[in-house]
């Protein structure tokens, strides 16, 4: 039992070391803000065949919301890529805004919500 605990403790220290090293290894790596062309490519890839009626980029470049028929297609930065989810537009439209960030519940335990910096939400042209 002691040997097991020692092995676990040493492994935990090694994990901490490797995570610190990964932080050092990626220091200074810039992540470009999401622009419209890239957002559209991601949307086309994640939701192939879906027409985009409107697209709003997060002001910090960390995501986007697109309207596609009765659905909202949400991109939210996750590491090097984006978590993409589809929710009903009415739910996205009704999402709460706090401190300049819209919080969209995604009803998915693997991606519970998207929090995106939006100057204004919902967009006037699509407001009910």
């Amino acid at each position: 039992m002691n040997a097991l605990l020692i092995q676990f403790a040493v492994s935990a220290v090694a994990v901490a070391l490797m995570v610190a090293l990964a932080a050092w290894g990626t220091r200074g790596r810039a992540r470009p803000a999401l622009d419209e062309a890239t957002a559209r490519r991601w949307l086309a890839d994640e939701f192939p065949g879906r027409a985009i009626d409107g697209l709003w980029l997060a002001s910090d470049g960390k995501g986007a919301i697109a309207k596609s028929g009765d659905d909202a297609l949400v991109l939210s930065r996750m590491g090097v890529g984006y978590a993409a989810r589809r929710v009903a537009w009415v739910k996205a439209e009704a999402a709460t805004v706090k401190d300049g960030r819209v919080r969209i519940p995604l009803a998915d335990v693997a991606a519970p919500r998207a929090v995106l910096a939006m100057a204004a939400w919902p967009p006037k042209e699509f407001s009910a």
Binding site: R41, W42, G79, V80, A111
Partner: protein, 305 residues
């Protein structure tokens, strides 16, 4: 009986090579992308997985010992032919275990976390399940003990397979010489297995020998014209390790509670199965991809931020 654990023996090698990959990538000497949160999740999953495995290790080993007492033959651990045989049969068992873990949701729930990183590096190899023992897939190896392979021998070979599969989780090695690519599971073959591109889904289940995929029709070579994009069909939106470990199990429970009469489908259908077909399975995604050929290209890897 005193036995050896290849995984424990290889742990220093795991640590040193992850460090080496990070450092060499930092200086541009090899291809590898690391991200702090992702690495933390992968390595912590691995660390806790070693503890979680202890919960069921006793039961699974006891079951193997009981089966072994009713064995058909007695196979000596000292014979070379016996090691060759257990190598082949264990690897075949691994292929079917792995295929089951991808093609049926109950077992996918235990395996999904291994595929949940958007990166493909040596730390990804260590992103191991916490619930594999509870999912009971260890039972697939029991027939080897029934045949007559000592459980310790099977355990050692399982460890050898796990250690082998570690080093293939890298982008640093592009292709091995053709004879190796033809027979062995290689970094190239396993990159395809970890890719979320529709054409690459549900392929290359091999442990050590890729020949099983070639035999059973699940082999897919890595194509120069289509770079692998890693992760899940629906990538995680969180680095919360508890969600990483349990999200698919929770999803199953939520689906069953909502539609209990479809419990068998929710449990044992392919991942993405739904009664009304409103969700996508690997098969439907592949079919949609095939139908779209000629459509605009997918997101180039360079667009990944």
């Amino acid at each position: 009986m005193k036995t050896i654990d290849p995984v424990t023996l290889a742990t220093p090698f795991f640590i040193l090579t992850v460090i080496l990959e990070i450092v060499l990538a930092r200086f541009g000497k090899l291809k590898a992308t690391y991200e702090t949160s992702d690495t933390a999740v992968s390595l912590t999953m691995g660390l806790i997985s070693s503890l979680a495995g202890l919960l069921t290790a006793g039961a699974s080993f006891a079951a193997a010992m009981w089966i072994y007492q009713h064995r058909l033959f007695t196979i000596p651990m000292t014979a070379v032919w016996a090691w060759i045989a257990v190598f082949l049969l264990e690897d075949l068992t691994y292929y079917w275990f792995h295929r089951l873990s991808h093609e049926r949701r109950f077992w996918w729930a235990a395996h999904v976390n291994h595929h949940s990183s958007q990166h493909y590096n040596l730390s990804t190899a260590l992103r191991q399940t916490w619930t594999g023992g509870l999912a009971g897939t260890w039972a697939l190896w029991l027939p080897l003990s029934l045949i007559g392979f000592p459980p310790a021998m099977v355990a050692i070979q399982k460890g050898v397979s796990l250690v082998y599969q570690y080093w293939i989780h890298t982008e640093a090695i592009r292709r091995l010489p053709k004879p190796f690519e033809a027979v062995l599971n290689t970094p190239s073959h396993h990159r395809v297995h970890h890719a979320r591109n529709p054409r690459y889904l549900d392929s290359n289940y091999a442990g050590i020998l890729i020949v099983w995929d070639r035999m059973f029709g699940t082999f897919q070579p890595e194509l120069d014209e289509e770079a692998c994009r890693y992760g899940l069909v629906h990538n995680l939106g969180t680095f919360n390790i508890v969600r990483v470990a349990f999200h698919e199990w929770i999803g199953i429970v939520q689906d069953i509670v909502r539609q209990p009469r479809h419990i068998l489908g929710w449990l044992f259908g392919p991942p993405g199965w739904s009664p009304d077909g409103s969700r996508d399975t690997s098969a439907s995604l592949k079919a949609q991809w095939a139908a779209r050929q000629g459509a605009p290209p997918t997101v180039p890897a360079k667009d990944a931020v």
